[in-house]
Each structure stands twice: as structure tokens, then as C-alpha cells.
């Protein structure tokens, strides 16, 4: 009961501290008070933001049940049965048709259950009609889809104990990931499965698993306490993960903007280039005009994985970053919610209060810009290969090492990104804030490019020459240093 009691007390203290309001909890994420509190629970934060949308414990029960039943129903659909038995027998996920393992039983039950379950408000099929322009794309067969996913899940977070210990447990964890991705892709054919989705799901899984518990089968727990523990019930980890992943990927715009089609991905990259030009004209000029290093070469990974490769291998840094993205209270002052409606999966009661996850793509774009400002001096003194290497192997340890902790680094990163986000509609303010950031992060770099509205892109010869001169001096200095060093 120790763990249960600990969870219950943490949750009660959190609800009490934030007066049962999600908006207050979000403030606690933005200003770090909750993040650094000893009562912090990532599971609580993510599930509250992505499932219950309420910090009122009384409402959790209903919201969780509503959300969990979706996955339960989908699992029963014959067209969602996973063809494990069609895999090559040497595939670790292969299950012969006639074994009596639990998973196979479930599948067999599903296959035998000829009565198709009809879900009227199935949120996942709502999008299926808008994929008219994808008709020329070859949709993989069920087996192909399963093979692609297993290939990627086999190499998810190499070396991670939970997923790669040589045990059945580890295999089962991986199998759960495969299952969720398979079903999710079939429910979202406009996006389908694309590489990268597996790591997004994997990181959510790791974080939720850590805090999930088995609910003891005793009658010594009060009804109220059970309502709290329900949130942490490991038995529904996959169910919750499915709903959360769907909301996190689809409603935030991550899926539609970065994964769904090449055109949308290209647009997102253009948006990044546009904001970079507004915030730091020098970095933009250096990459685009001087080095001719096109953003798609490196930016695709930054965007699709929400910086999970760039922020370090231990996954702690990126998890904190996601706490901010998912739980922060960056408000969408302009009504720029994208037109994606995926029903009301798991939304129980409270209306989304303007602090929605639709801010994620813009916040991510601005975070990337800040990361570039951090390495600006190195970028300027690099040739094409060096610059691309730097971007593809972002020197996170060097940058975050300047802060007292990883959490501190992420906190500043997020704060800067929000400051830019709030100025996103005003070019002049973006430019000025860019100058401010540079004064702070690059005090020794005494060169700027004058403000320019996006219409007049061409720079004066004088300005270009000034930049070239500085760049060469810095490069020569670097060379001399390396020769002497």
C-alpha cells in the first residue's frame, strides 16, 4: 500500500494546491512551481491535459471510462486484428495461430466475434474523408504495415532496459507499442505510420509506465481513493496511451503538419524559415544565402521528433520539454486553432480553456530558433559540412551544461520560445526580441543585420560585406587556434 498511499497523497496535495483547476496547474508548469514540486507527477499532468481535461477528481472516473472504452471497442473490431501470425516465424513478434497465449486469445476472440461493433462517435474515423489527394499513394497492406512498425520498434531507444532487456516483459512492452501504432495508423489512414511516430509514442509510454501501478484487489481502499488510483491503473496503460497519443499527435497539429503529407511538412519548414528570418536575420543569411544549407536537411528530425534526439539521449531533458509543451499555459490569443476536429475523445466536462496544445508547432519552431541562437558563433564560423554536422549532432551537453540543471535549461528555452510566440504577429517586435536574445546569449558577437520587413529581402552590399569580413576573421581565428591547440 506504500506506493498507493504515496500517489494518493501527492494527488490530493496537488489538487488542493491548484484548487482543482487545470488552468492553475498549467501556470504551475509554466512557472516551474509544479514541475519542481515534490508532488510532481508527470502521469497526472499528461493525463489531465490529454484525457480528463479536469483537475476535479470526481470527474476523472467518467472521463477515463469514456476514453478507455474507445480502445476497448476498437480492439474488438475484426478489421483491427493484428496479423501477428502472418509475420515471418523468425520475427520476435510472431505468434503462431494456435498458441494459447493471452494476446492470441484476444485476437481469436476478436476474429470469432463476427458481430461488428459499431461506434457512432468514433473519433478516429472522422478524418478519413479528407484524404482525397492521397489516392495515388500506395497504402501498405496490413502485413506490410505491421512489418514496418515492428522494424522500428525493434530499434526504439537502443539500450533502454524497459524495452530491450532480454525478457518477456520487455517484449510485451514492445508488443504493446506495436499494437497501438498499428491500430492508430489504421484509424488515421491520412497520416498512416511514418518513422518517428514510434519514438513519440515510446517516450510517452516510458513516462507513463514509470508511474503506473497495479490496483490491489482489496476492499480496504475507499471509493474516493480508488477514483484517484484509477488514473494510475497499469491495466489501462495501453488504452490511455492510445487516446493520449491520438490527441497529442492529431489535435496539436504535429501529425497533420509534420507527418501527413510532404506539402504540409514543406509548409512547416517554410514557416520556420520565415520566423528565423524575422528573429535572427544573420543566422538566416548565413545558412540560406552563404552556406546554401537548406532547412529540410536537418529540420525534419527536429520537428517530427519534437526535439527528442536533439535534447540528449537520456530522455529526461526532452520529457521536461514536453511537460512544458503539453502542460504549459501559453495561450492562443489569436483564434488560430486548426480545423482538426477529432470528436471529443476523453474530454470530460471542462471545455478546453484556450490553453490548448495547438500552440505546440509554433512553440517548437521558436524553440528551434533559440537552439540556433545558442550555437550562432559556431554556425557562423563553419563551412557547409561543419554547419550541417553541428545541426545534425546538436551539442546539447555543451549548451545545457551552462545551466544549473537540465530543468533550468529547458525552463529558459521554453520561456524564450513563449516570448517569441507572443510576438509572432509583429515582425518588428520579433526582430527586437531577437536582438535581445543575442545580447544575452552571444554578447561577444557584435554584428547584426538591420531590420527588414519580409518584403524587402535583398540586403545591401555593404551589409553583406561586413558579414563576410567578420565571418572570415572568425574562421581564420578558429583555424589559428586549432593549429596552435
Amino acid at each position: 500500500m506504500l506506493r498507493e498511499n504515496e500517489i494518493i497523497s501527492k494527488v490530493l496535495l496537488t489538487v488542493d494546491q491548484y484548487k482543482g483547476k487545470v488552468s492553475s496547474l498549467r501556470t504551475g508548469i509554466s512557472n516551474d512551481t509544479y514541475l519542481r514540486s515534490e508532488n510532481f507527477s508527470r502521469l497526472l499532468l499528461w493525463k489531465v491535459c490529454l484525457i480528463t481535461d479536469s483537475l476535479n477528481i470526481q470527474k476523472w472516473d467518467e472521463a477515463l471510462s469514456a476514453s478507455r472504452i474507445v480502445y476497448t471497442q476498437i480492439l474488438k473490431r475484426p478489421d483491427m486484428a493484428i496479423p501477428w501470425d502472418q509475420l515471418e516465424p523468425d520475427n520476435v513478434f510472431y505468434i503462431p495461430r494456435k498458441t494459447t497465449r493471452r494476446e492470441t486469445n484476444t485476437i481469436k476472440k476478436v476474429i470469432n466475434n463476427l458481430e461488428r461493433v459499431h461506434i457512432d462517435d468514433d473519433p478516429l474515423t472522422a478524418d478519413n474523408n479528407k484524404q482525397g489527394n492521397h489516392s495515388n499513394i500506395h497504402l501498405p497492406t496490413d502485413l506490410e504495415l505491421l512489418e514496418i512498425i515492428t522494424l522500428d520498434i525493434e530499434r526504439i531507444f537502443p539500450g533502454n532496459e524497459l524495452f530491450h532487456a532480454p525478457t518477456t516483459d520487455a517484449l510485451n512492452h514492445r508488443r504493446t507499442l506495436v499494437q497501438i501504432l498499428y491500430i492508430w495508423s489504421k484509424c488515421n489512414p491520412s497520416v498512416g505510420y511514418k518513422q518517428g511516430l514510434h519514438e513519440l509514442l515510446g517516450l510517452v509510454y516510458l513516462n507513463l509506465w514509470r508511474e503506473s501501478i497495479e490496483i490491489p484487489n482489496t476492499n480496504t481502499i475507499s471509493t474516493d481513493d480508488l477514483k484517484i488510483l484509477k488514473l494510475y491503473n497499469v491495466k489501462y496503460l495501453a488504452h490511455d496511451l492510445f487516446s493520449m497519443f491520438n490527441k497529442f499527435v492529431m489535435q496539436s497539429g504535429i501529425g497533420p503538419k509534420y507527418f501527413e503529407s510532404e506539402q504540409e511538412l514543406f509548409k512547416s519548414i517554410q514557416t520556420f524559415d520565415m520566423y528565423l528570418l524575422k528573429v535572427d536575420q544573420l543566422i538566416h543569411y548565413n545558412l540560406t544565402n552563404k552556406l546554401k544549407l537548406e532547412s529540410p536537411l536537418w529540420l525534419i528530425r527536429y520537428l517530427r521528433l519534437l526535439l527528442s534526439r536533439e535534447l540528449g539521449n537520456d530522455l529526461e531533458c526532452v520529457s521536461i520539454f514536453w511537460d512544458k509543451l503539453i502542460g504549459g499555459n501559453c495561450s492562443t490569443t489569436s483564434s488560430n486553432t486548426s480545423g482538426i476536429t477529432i470528436g471529443n475523445i476523453g474530454i470530460g466536462g471542462d471545455k478546453p480553456n484556450g490553453n490548448t496544445i495547438t500552440t505546440i508547432p509554433d512553440l517548437l519552431t521558436f524553440s528551434v530558433i533559440i537552439l540556433l541562437i545558442h550555437i550562432k558563433t559556431d554556425l557562423i564560423t563553419s563551412d557547409f559540412s561543419e554547419a550541417l554536422s553541428l545541426l545534425l549532432h546538436y551539442p546539447i551537453a555543451k549548451i545545457s551544461g551552462k545551466y544549473s540543471s537540465k530543468a533550468d535549461f529547458i525552463s529558459k528555452l521554453y520561456k524564450d520560445a513563449v516570448s517569441l510566440y507572443e510576438r509572432r504577429d509583429n515582425d518588428k517586435k520579433l526582430y527586437e526580441y531577437g536582438l535581445k536574445l543575442n545580447t544575452h546569449y552571444n554578447p561577444n558577437l557584435k554584428i547584426t543585420m538591420s531590420y527588414r520587413s519580409s518584403e524587402e529581402v535583398e540586403r545591401s552590399k555593404e551589409e553583406k560585406l561586413k558579414f563576410e569580413k567578420l565571418r572570415m576573421e572568425m574562421r581564420l581565428k578558429k583555424k589559428v587556434k586549432s593549429m596552435m591547440g
Binding site: 514496418i148 536537411l297 558563433t377 559540412s385
Partner: protein, 214 residues
């Protein structure tokens, strides 16, 4: 200051997801093999300086790409200016062998090279360390079908490698470098890259006091 330009050779590795493109690159550049590499998202990139026969120093710029998606327009950025293309398959995966031709087509369409008919490609069949029983049945015959097909066959040098056991990786990339160098020399006239150090000299002529940049 020597006036010699650094020879930079751009090499693209293509092939289906999971055939071992990242492993090959890592084995060649860093002489290491990790049991598992993460799936490549977008692209990755490493460079290695090597000496090609005749003692010429070149820098190989090796581009590792994601094998699952084929980008229609973004691909141009990856393939532009390539000097050699490595087509990879997995000797245990027949589909990956059969897809080589479409990877080649993909490359030619995107890269828009001047000499598609004699642009240097090489083929690498990776994972030869695995158990014989797992290999594609009658591999040689199937490989011959792919390489010496009368119509648009992939008539290129073939290497069978193991990135895991470092078998044949080095020799394969030596051939890559040689072929890339030839291609580069072919294109050199039309492809003059601006030289940083000449810029530097010009700029220094009208130099003024500079601020400290440390």
C-alpha cells in the same frame, strides 16, 4: 596559404528501411558497430578524409537517408550535387533487393544529374554475417537478374558486406571514393565553389580594427 582546393565528394546511401545504411556509414567512418541504431529520421551525415590511389586526399561527405519515405520535392535538397550513389539491400530481405531499381530511379529523378546513363552507382548487399539459412534463396541468381537485366539493369559493382563484422566495408567505400572522384572531376569545370580564403584576402585589404571575438 596553399592554393589547392579541398576535394569534397558527396556520397548518398539509399535503400529500404532496416537494410543497414546507418550501420555501414558508422562502420566506415567511425569503425564501430552498435547492435542497434535508431531509425534515421530525415537524414544524417558524416564526413571522413581518405586517400584515394595516387595519393590524393579527399573528404567523403556521406549522406545517410531515411528508408521508409520517399520525398517528392524535399529529396532534391538531399541529392543535389551527389558524386556517387550507394544502393543498399539486405541479403536476408528479397524485397529490399527488388527495390534497388526504384531507389536508383528515385535518385536520378531527384538529383537531376547531367549524365544519368553513366552516373556512378554501386550496390551493397549488407548483413552477410547472418546465418546462411536466413539469406535470400538462390541469391546469386536473383542478384544477377537485377544487375544484368537487358532493359535498365543495374550494371554496377556489387559488394557484399557485413557492417557488424566490418567485412568488405572499407573496400566498398574505397571504390565509392574512386568512382566519386572521377565523377567530380568530370563535373569540376561547371562546378566551381567559391573559395573562402580568397574572400578573406579581399576583405582584409579594406580591413579596419576588429573587435575581439573570443
Amino acid at each position: 596559404m596553399s592554393g589547392r582546393k579541398k576535394t569534397l565528394l558527396k556520397v548518398i546511401i539509399l535503400g529500404d528501411s532496416g537494410v543497414g545504411k546507418t550501420s555501414l556509414m558508422q562502420q566506415f567512418v567511425n569503425s564501430k558497430f552498435s547492435h542497434q541504431y535508431k531509425a534515421t529520421i530525415g537524414a544524417d551525415f558524416l564526413t571522413k578524409e581518405i586517400t584515394v590511389d595516387g595519393g590524393k586526399q579527399v573528404t567523403l561527405q556521406i549522406w545517410d537517408t531515411a528508408g521508409q519515405e520517399r520525398f517528392q520535392s524535399l529529396g532534391v535538397a538531399f541529392y543535389r550535387g551527389a558524386d556517387c550513389c550507394v544502393l543498399c539491400y539486405d541479403v536476408t530481405n528479397e524485397k529490399s533487393l527488388n527495390n534497388l531499381a526504384s531507389w536508383k530511379d528515385e535518385f536520378l529523378i531527384q538529383s537531376n544529374v547531367a549524365n544519368p546513363a553513366d552516373f556512378p552507382f554501386i550496390i551493397i548487399g549488407n548483413k552477410i554475417d547472418v546465418d546462411e539459412s536466413k539469406k535470400i534463396a538462390s541469391l546469386q541468381k536473383k542478384l544477377n537478374n537485377v544487375t544484368s537485366n537487358q532493359l535498365g539493369g543495374l550494371n554496377y559493382p556489387v559488394f557484399e558486406t557485413s557492417a557488424r563484422d566490418a567485412i568488405n566495408v572499407e573496400p566498398a567505400f574505397e571504390v565509392v571514393a574512386k568512382m566519386a572522384l572521377q565523377q567530380e572531376e568530370l563535373n569540376e569545370a561547371g562546378n566551381d565553389v567559391s573559395d573562402d580564403y580568397n574572400d578573406a584576402i579581399n576583405i582584409h585589404l579594406e580591413s579596419e580594427s576588429s573587435s575581439c571575438m573570443c
